[in-house]
């Protein structure tokens, strides 16, 4: 039967796609930085997959939920989502790489987002990124060797009148300069060292 043959063809293409894709994702994850081998426990995704089962348009929430679980999108997650939703892994990969929010490799425990919106730019946000790069010894988008901090430049955080600003975790810090940004980072490091993470509400 023709339809059976087409179905087999489509299935084998899907399978091939997913193999290629996983190879590619693994390669990217490895070349980007020397991270410990990812050993994400994919069973954690089960409640998420059940929650969005057969709901149209739920690919982005699925990816967001996955990233919340692992801090990034592990390569195995693509296969799991594909199997659950029937969306080709290539399409999932296409969506994951389109949006700025998604990461394909692990990140530090604390993500430092330095705002580079217009208001922050004219108030010299570059000086903050430069000072933090110097202090942490990493480039923009990289993670420190101890896995504690990832430095990121982001578009507007929406706190323009306090420019220049940065966000560490859920906290936003405003009216910065290079020195004060490093000072805040040092304070956070001290808190981490004494092992008493003080959560601000």
């Amino acid at each position: 039967m023709l339809s059976d043959r087409i179905a087999t063809l489509v299935r084998s293409r899907l399978l091939l796609n997913s193999i290629y894709l996983i190879m590619r994702i693994t390669r990217i994850a490895h070349t980007q930085q020397s991270q410990p081998k990812e050993d994400a426990d994919l069973s954690l995704m089960k409640p998420l997959l059940i929650k969005y089962d057969h709901k149209p348009g739920s690919l982005i929430p699925l990816l967001q939920g996955t990233q919340e679980l692992y801090g990034f999108l592990p390569s195995g997650a693509f296969k799991a989502i594909s199997e659950a939703t029937g969306i080709a892994p290539a399409d999932i990969y296409g969506v994951a790489t389109f949006y700025a929010q998604f990461r394909l490799s692990p990140v530090g425990k604390n993500i430092i987002k330095v705002c580079h919106g217009t208001a922050c730019h004219v108030q010299n946000a570059n000086a903050i990124t430069d000072a933090l790069k110097d202090h942490l010894g990493v480039n923009d988008g990289e993670t420190t060797a101890d896995g504690e901090f990832t430095l990121e430049s982001v578009a507007c955080l929406g706190c323009c009148s306090l420019a220049p600003v940065m966000m560490i975790g859920e906290n936003t810090y405003g009216k910065l300069n290079g020195k004060s940004a490093v000072k805040i980072l040092k304070e956070i490091k001290n808190q981490l060292c004494t092992n008493q993470p003080k959560a601000e509400k």
């Binding site: 690919l59 389109f98 949006y99 108030q123 578009a155 929406g158 600003v165």
Partner: protein, 591 residues
């Protein structure tokens, strides 16, 4: 006697300025029992430059104090509550008394922002007290026809506040006239313009107004489902929206057969995942459907085939927030404000090198100078006003000479900029316009979805040219090449992103061409921003021979020993500016 109320402004910017620490400090003060008051919270009143803000309501009236850090709050509170003294120097709003900050509110008309900063955004009762859901109730009770409501919207003159400026009533009419079993209402809260935060403030300060606006839209066009597409970068806005939606559902204001009629309406929040292009309506729809947010050709317009191929009406947050007010007060009341073709008010986010940065809502038709000098208090450090950037990466720079331009859609368009969503970034003489154009091009080339070649490759090529110019490698003919490419990109891109991406370059070329020429031909940056073009020298009259600069110089390009006049070796100097930053005697000169 009514109990004294102490209210802390807890919007995102207030929290960034330390308002949650102030709130905790107030909780501790309350726990000590020395003073008795009711602690409450509100959102942003727009006065971001004085954050954190604390309002005290008692028999003396309503006083808002500015700069209320956790350290300062106890002292002010004691003198206010125990000694009965009002510290007018620190007060920013005081009923019946003048404060130094009154000029910030003079000339403002708050329609969209009517409740922001005046109520607890998480309290349903306070929202009801301030007329939430009154408009939709009236419409249903009076059994108003869709065409009547559409006519009211057309008469009000409300135009899309997201930047496009399309008449809202007409947009609704198209969606209404397309028959379908299912229609959708979408609220575009993907406020991606860097330098704009009015939608965030609105969602954080008055989520019910947006929900009610969407309900009225749904009732009018015959939609039963609403979606709010909100940036994930706005966690507080998403949280407060969800609280408001749950409250409305619990009180029977969202759901099946509302107010005893056949009208059913439900709303959910969809989090964006970080793509500027999703502000474009067809890209936004693709994103809600779980696809890459790439725009598609129009027609068909969303009013015919939108979300899940059903008729869909999309409006921006600020537009939706205006709708209930218009229904409650009538089209005439709204149209009384503004100019002939741009009615009503517009919210602007005033940022950059301005004294009073914040959120202002003014009637259309005021001048740029009025906004910057009267409301905004002028330029930081009383420097010279150079230009204002309107409309974000799609907009342009309006120079100080055109400061008398009135703010409405058509007058702003005539300058080459666009109204956009209302981000107003003010620049002084220390901003390099080529550096700014480079900044925006960098943004748009990163955010281009890649579908149209001119937008994908063209913006990249323009950026490379600007990079060369700011590095002192500009060549004769670069300006013409930039102009040519800019027009090609404008004409050959599918969506608003590409069509407007060259605007920052075109407007700076139009008004600041001499700066481009100075960079290219004289190899100078007049604003002294582009470091490769700067020359650092030491003024022998001012140099004291302190050696600080020589010690700090990373390439040992500074000669001179203690108490001797120093000099910079231009061949080894890398123009990092460290000597300029560390010199206490202003002896390092930049040219």
């Amino acid at each position: 006697m009514k109990k004294t109320k102490v209210i802390v402004g807890l919007g995102s910017c207030g929290i960034a300025a330390g308002a949650s620490k102030t709130y905790s400090a107030l909780e501790e003060i309350l726990a000590k029992g020395e003073m008795d008051f009711e602690l409450a919270r509100t959102s942003c009143i727009g006065m971001c430059y004085k954050e954190p803000l604390v309002e005290i309501q008692d028999e003396k009236g309503k006083i808002i104090y500015g700069d209320m850090t956790a350290e300062a709050v106890e002292g002010i509170l004691k003198s206010h509550l125990l000694d009965g003294k009002i510290d007018l120097e620190r007060a920013v709003v005081a009923e019946e008394q003048k404060t130094p900050e009154d000029s910030f509110f003079e000339g403002q008309v708050k329609i969209a922002l009517r409740n922001c900063g005046y109520m607890d955004p998480e309290s349903f009762d306070e929202a009801l007290e301030r007329d939430a859901y009154k408009a939709i109730k009236t419409l249903i009770a009076e059994n108003k026809s869709s065409m009547d409501i559409i006519q009211t919207m057309i008469d009000s003159g409300l135009r899309g506040r997201g930047g496009g400026g399309f008449p809202t009533g007409l947009k609704w009419k198209f969606a209404y006239q397309n028959e379908s079993d299912q229609k959708y209402i979408i609220c575009n809260a993907d406020e991606g313009d860097p330098g704009a935060f009015m939608d965030r403030s609105l969602l954080e300060g008055d989520p019910h107004a947006v929900l009610e606006g969407m309900m009225i839209g749904g009732y009018t066009i015959g939609a039963s489902q609403g979606v709010i597409y909100c940036r994930a970068e706005y966690p507080l806005a998403i949280k407060r929206l969800n609280i408001a939606i749950n409250q409305a559902k619990a009180k029977g204001l969202l759901g099946e057969k509302l107010f005893g009629s056949d009208f059913s309406f439900d709303i959910y929040v969809k989090e964006g995942a970080g793509a500027f292009v999703c502000g474009e309506e067809t890209a936004l729809i693709a994103s809600i459907e779980g696809k890459r947010g790439m725009p598609r050709k129009r027609p068909p317009f969303p009013a015919v085939s939108g979300l899940w191929a059903k008729p869909t009406n999309i409006n921006n947050v600020e537009t939706w927030a205006n709708v209930p007010w218009i229904i409650n007060h009538g089209a005439e009341a709204y149209a009384a404000y503004g100019t002939e073709k741009s009615k009503g008010t517009k919210v602007f986010a005033l940022t950059g090198k301005i004294k009073h940065g914040g959120l202002v809502e003014v009637p259309m038709g005021v001048t740029i100078n009025d906004i910057i000098f009267k409301l905004g208090g002028g330029i930081q450090g009383d420097k010279k006003f150079k230009a204002v950037q309107l409309g974000g990466p799609s907009g342009g720079c309006i120079p100080a000479e055109l400061g008398d331009t009135i703010v409405d859609y058509d007058s702003v368009n005539a300058t080459g900029a666009i109204m956009g969503s209302g981000g107003m970034v003010v620049m002084d003489e220390s901003t390099c316009m080529i550096d700014l154009a480079k900044f925006f091009l960098n943004f748009t080339q990163e955010e281009s979805c890649g579908k149209c070649t001119f937008c994908r490759v063209g913006t990249k090529r323009m950026l490379e040219m600007l990079e060369r110019i700011t590095e002192g490698k500009g060549e004769d003919g670069d300006i013409e090449k930039l102009e040519n490419l800019a027009h090609q990109i404008k004409n050959n891109s599918l969506c608003g992103l590409g069509q407007t991406a060259p605007n920052p370059v075109l407007t700076t070329l139009k008004y600041f061409r001499h700066e481009y020429e100075a960079h290219i031909y004289d190899k100078k940056c007049p604003a002294k921003v582009c470091k490769p073009l700067l020359t650092y020298t030491i003024d022998p009259e001012k140099c004291t021979g302190c050696t600080v600069c020589a010690v700090k110089c990373p390439t040992n390009a500074i000669d001179g020993s203690r108490k001797q006049i120093h000099s910079i070796n231009q061949e080894t100097c890398i123009h990092c500016g460290e000597c300029y930053n560390v010199c206490k005697f202003e002896a390092v000169m930049v040219d």
